[in-house]
Each structure stands twice: as structure tokens, then as C-alpha cells.
């Protein structure tokens, strides 16, 4: 009886929190549409979303062509990074693992660095100008380069993971690939024009300001990967006890590890391709979820990370755009500033609940 009460108790807490986070997600989504360099009243925003053509034309363009894609990118991007981080933290049983642990962002950076620094047009100072310099390739060139870079890293990691038993080895190899790719990027940066370097640096800050066409690719891929991650809830829970126990309970560890790596790469790789390497969200949100929901059960953590990841990304985007001004802060700076206190909170609270997951 006691057990049933407890079960009800913890799940009702989860449901309540889930409702709150969904509300937060919705509120931040709407605020992301309303606030910006131009603040558009709520009623008008709603009218535009509902297809009412009577409202101010420029507002219509701002919302439908700029802020709506941006909000979708933030919601889905944040969810993707958070879930990717969760999968890596569970797979490696390491509290500091994140979506980019396997070197995915470094691979993407290398790809983009090659395109922008080696190929990119002469006098470009920002990404749009640089893209103009690239001509018909458009923003697709950057996305493709990023995706190619992260896929290359993924292929190497997957190839190695078939031969290697220990997950720690894979973790270390991923980190080493990351360093190697970063060093190549450093060399490229060292020999490039300052303008190109600035364009590249801006890409590394990350940004959810992407176009409708890109969103229409980003959203379906991430949706598929997120749905797939739901199918791995049970093996993920088993992995909490470590791979040996998981195998002894009937799990096929190598297959599961393969799926986890592929899903993580899809999630993190897609976001990085379109939005750049956004720091810290992926590491911090899973910790935030464990702390809030007081559980390590992935049946709650996966949806929790999706909702909280989306909300936090929208909030970060709001802050980065400094509503009411024409300035924009680098997105990664904002996410790190929001994420670091979360990690500190987790570490300090750690003693009672066993702290970090390792």
C-alpha cells in the first residue's frame, strides 16, 4: 500500500511540474514572438498568427518571417540539445557529458571554418554578407558544411564503438577528436583575414535566427529523433545501474549504444548545422530536470528535458535579443550565463541526493 501511495505521490508531483513547464514553454514562446527590437501587442500577434490580414504589414513580416521561425528553432533546438545531453550523461554515466561530448560541435566547427575561412567571399563581415559572397549556395552551404563535419566525427566514433568495449574509451576518443578538430580550426583562423574570422566567430556564438526553409528541415528531423529517444526510455533506465547490470537484465548494450549515439548526433548535429554550437544548455537542462522532478527515471526526464530545454532556449533567446533595443547578445554567452548557476546549484545540493550522476 505504502508503495502505491508513493508512486501516486511522485507521479502527481511530476504531472504538476510538467503542467507548469508546459505553461512556461507556451508563455516564453509567445513572449519570443511579442518582444524584440519592436514590441508587438499580444492581440495583434495573436491576430497575425490566426491569419488575420488586417494588421500592420511590417508586423506581419516580422512575426511570420522572422520571429515565428526563430521561436520554433529555439523550442526545438533547446529540446534537442537537452535530450542529447541527457542521453550522453546516461550513456557515459558522467555528469559533465553533453550533446557535444562526442566531438560533434568540433566537427561541425571544422566544416564551417573550411567553408567560411577558405571558400567564403572576400570582404564579408557577417554571415549574411558572407553568404552573399558565396552566391547561390546561400545559408545551405554553412549548414551542409556543419552537417558534413559532425557526420564525419560521428562516423569515426561509430566505427570505433563497434570495436571498443569500454564507453570511457569512446568518451576520451570523442574528446580527442574534438581537440584535433579545434586545433585545425585554430590554424585556419590564424591564417585568415580578420573579416572572415569575425564571420566565423559569430557563427560559433550560435543563433536561433534562421529562415522558414531551414526550420522546415530542422523541425521534422528533430521530431523524429525525439520520438526515437522515447523508444529508448527502458534501456536508458537500465543503464543507470551501469552497462554490466543492464546487460545482465537482458539489454543488448552495443545496439543500444549505437542507437544512442546516432540519435544524439542527429539532435546535436542538426541544431549545430542550423543554429551553431550553442553552449551549455545540453549539459545544464538534464541536471535541472533531475533536481526539479527528483527522479532519474527517463520516463519523466525525457519529456521533462524536451519541455524545459525548449523553455530555457526560448528564454535565452529572449534575453539575447534585449527586448526594446536593437542590440543582440551572443546566444552562447546567454545560455552559459543561465546554465552555470544550474550546475553550481546541482553541485552544492549534491550531497543529499548523491549529487552528480557518476
Amino acid at each position: 500500500m505504502k508503495v502505491n501511495e508513493r508512486g501516486w505521490d511522485s507521479s502527481s508531483r511530476a504531472v504538476l511540474l510538467m503542467v507548469f513547464s508546459l505553461a512556461a514553454l507556451f508563455i516564453f514562446f509567445m513572449l519570443d514572438l511579442i518582444l524584440g527590437s519592436v514590441n508587438i501587442p499580444f492581440q495583434d500577434t495573436l491576430a497575425i498568427l490566426l491569419g488575420n490580414k488586417m494588421v500592420n504589414d511590417s508586423w506581419q513580416i516580422i512575426i511570420m518571417d522572422m520571429r515565428l521561425p526563430k521561436a520554433f528553432a529555439a523550442a526545438f533546438g533547446g529540446a534537442a540539445l537537452a535530450v542529447a545531453g541527457l542521453l550522453m550523461q546516461t550513456l557515459f554515466r558522467n555528469p559533465l557529458a553533453g550533446p557535444f561530448t562526442l566531438g560533434i560541435s568540433s566537427g561541425a566547427s571544422l566544416g564551417v571554418a573550411i567553408v567560411i575561412l577558405l571558400v567564403g567571399g572576400g570582404t564579408a563581415t557577417t554571415i549574411p554578407q558572407m553568404l552573399a559572397g558565396l552566391g547561390s549556395f546561400g545559408s545551405a552551404a554553412v549548414a551542409i558544411a556543419a552537417f558534413a563535419g559532425s557526420s564525419a566525427v560521428l562516423m569515426i566514433v561509430l566505427f570505433i564503438s563497434r570495436k571498443v568495449e569500454s564507453s570511457v574509451t569512446i568518451l576520451i576518443l570523442g574528446l580527442m577528436f574534438g581537440y584535433a578538430a579545434t586545433s585545425l580550426v585554430t590554424i585556419l583562423v590564424h591564417f585568415s583575414d580578420p573579416e572572415k574570422v569575425k564571420a566565423f566567430t559569430e557563427w560559433t556564438y550560435g543563433s536561433f535566427d534562421i529562415r522558414c526553409a531551414e526550420v522546415s528541415i530542422l523541425v521534422p528531423i528533430i521530431s523524429i529523433a525525439l520520438i526515437s529517444s522515447f523508444l529508448l526510455i527502458k534501456p536508458l533506465n537500465a543503464l543507470l545501474l551501469g552497462e554490466k547490470y543492464a546487460e545482465s537484465m537482458g539489454m543488448n548494450f552495443k545496439t543500444t549504444r549505437h542507437y544512442l549515439i546516432i540519435i544524439t548526433a542527429l539532435l546535436a548535429g542538426t541544431v549545430t548545422a542550423f543554429c551553431g554550437p550553442i553552449a551549455f544548455l545540453g549539459v545544464a537542462v538534464p541536471h535541472l530536470c533531475r533536481g526539479l522532478f527528483l527522479t532519474a527515471d527517463h520516463r519523466i526526464l525525457v519529456p521533462g528535458c524536451i519541455i524545459l530545454g525548449g523553455s530555457l532556449a526560448l528564454f535565452s533567446d529572449l534575453v539575447a535579443h534585449l527586448p526594446g533595443s536593437n542590440l543582440t547578445l551572443p546566444l552562447s554567452a546567454v545560455t552559459s550565463m543561465l546554465g552555470a548557476p544550474v550546475i553550481i546549484w546541482v553541485v552544492l545540493r549534491g550531497n543529499k541526493l548523491g549529487g552528480m550522476q557518476a
Partner: protein, 368 residues
Amino acid sequence: MKEKPLLSACDLSIGYTTRKKTQKVISENLNLELVPGELVCLIGPNGAGKSTLIRTLIGMQPSLTGDISLMNRPLEDFTAMEKARVLSVVLTSNTNISHFRAFDVVALGRYPYTGWSGTLSEEDKKIVSFSLDSVGATELSNRFMSELSDGEKQKVMIARGLAQDPSILVLDEPTAFLDLPHKIEVIRILKSLSRHPGRAVLLSIHDLDIAMRTADRIWLFNKKGEFFSGSPEDLILQGVFGSAFAMGGVHFDNEKGTFIIPPEKKGDANLLGNNGVERIWTAHALERAGYCISKDNSSSITIEIGNNSGNTCWKCMNGEPEREFPSIADMIKYINQIHENKDSKKQLPVDLIDQEFDNTIVDEVCLT
């Protein structure tokens, strides 16, 4: 009638295949059986192959040659899921899980039975509660794993193994991190689990004493990797125990069934008086200090257990004036002093003189 074994191995050899495809055999020609209702303790010195045997028997490591059959079916025919329904393991690894309650950990044991999301049915929940109850950990179910002591964690991990509803429960050194009372409690739990119809428990363990008191059967590796199986008493009578662990300074006492560290022999002592429990422990203390109890009271040292106005006291007579002590510790201290005094008269001065002599020579050499 002989019961059908749950797990058996025939001509098994265990070990590793190295990278160069050469085989490192740890033990070979193993023939063993695990029958229902038994608690089997696997013992042997470190490095003799206990863990390798366990890993091989549960299919976590391939055997070099030989056949293992589980429930009368070749082990390699089992899928991971099928195996998980008849065999569960509790590993040595210290499990550190944050934000996870004991109940949830035990619930993971239902892994081979639940659907894609791992959600528990009412039946599953009952089995989880029952497993917690069987190890006496019901009151822990709501606590976080990180709040539990090592002993409590171990009970929860055993309950998790039990929730898999196994015919064979295999534990790799389940008592390794525990203090003595918890060791005994864990073994008691395992013994009661092995009495469940159709189930056997196999565990590796370092504590020979506990193994000998509880095991229905002992599997023993000696240092050479030779394997013996039998009841603890049979193995002692065959003299296998002593030879398996023989090491400088330690030997197995076949009468007492324990390992003893033979102290430096200092002589005999007569023990008089009181024949109750005081005598047993006084003898124990004297033996520990290196004195044998003289059988014909012919020694120069005599200890008498007496009574001084209601309190037990120990009198010591060795030719000098009789001394009386309120505790065994004081009495032993005194005897040791007598012994050292005797020694120092004989040896120490000679050594010292020699050393000083050497030093002066060295000094002279240096001067010249």
C-alpha cells in the same frame, strides 16, 4: 533421486584469449553442478579464477572450451532476455545512482518482463514489494539510493536481483564492502533465498569462516587453479583447505576450522582454577601471546583464575612474588614484560656492543 542441476559445466576451461590469439588458461577440466536448494560459496585466493568462473558461468565472458548448460539447455542458445528471466546477478561494482529511490532500482529488475517503456503492472509492483520484503528492506523503498549505507545498498541490489524472479542468483563478492554484522545479515538473507523451491544461490566470498558456516557446498580454487567441490567439512577432511590458502605465517587449523596466525612461541604456562568461560578466554589470550597451555602443569609460569571479593582476578606466579590482576590485558602485559626482560638480558647488550664496535672501525677508517 538426484535433482536435475540448474546450471552445469562439463570439461570447462576458463581464461582469456589475448590479442595475439593465444589463450591464457586460468583453470581447466572443470566439472560442476548447481542444484536447486543449494547455497554455494565460491572461494579461493585472489587471482585464482573466482571472478573469471562467475563471469564465464553467467555468459559475460566466453569459455575457452567445454559446455555450460543452463536449465538443461546450452547457455549460448539463450537470448539475453531469456537468460535474464532465469539468472540474475549482483555485481561487486559500487552503484552510485543519484535521484533514484530504492523501489525504482528494484523495479529495474522487472526489465525482462515489462513492455517497451518499462512501466510496471500491478503484478510487477507486487513482485518488487515482495522482493524488498524478502531482504528486509521494505522500509528503505522510499529512500534515495544515495542516502543508504553500504549494507542497505547491498540489500537493495539483492532485492533487484530477486525481482528478476531467477532460478539462479549469482553474486560476486556480495559482502566485500560490509562490516561483520552486515556480512552475516546478507549471508543469512541469501541462505533463506536459497531455500526457495527450485532456486540456487551462488556467491563468491573472501570470508572463509562465513562460507564454512553457511554454505551447503563449497567450490574452491587453490593457487594452481585446481578446483574442488564438496561440503565444507569434506573439504577440510581432505586437507584441501589448508593447502589452497597456505602462505607464509598463516596456516589452517583443521581442528578449529579457521586460519590462525601462529605467534612467536614464547613457552608454556600452567592454567589453574575456574573451568568456565573465563578459562576458555584466558587460554585464548595466552595462546595469542605465544604461550601454550601446559598439559601437566610443568611450566615455570602459572596463571590462576581466582576470585577477589566477587570480582574475577588473575594471579600470576613465576618464582617471583605472586601478582594479582583485575583483567586479562594487565596479566598478559605483565607476562610479556617478564619475557622481554629475560630476552634483553641475553641478547640486546651483545648486539649493541657489536654495533658500536663496527662504528668505531668505520670512524677510524675515515680518519686515516
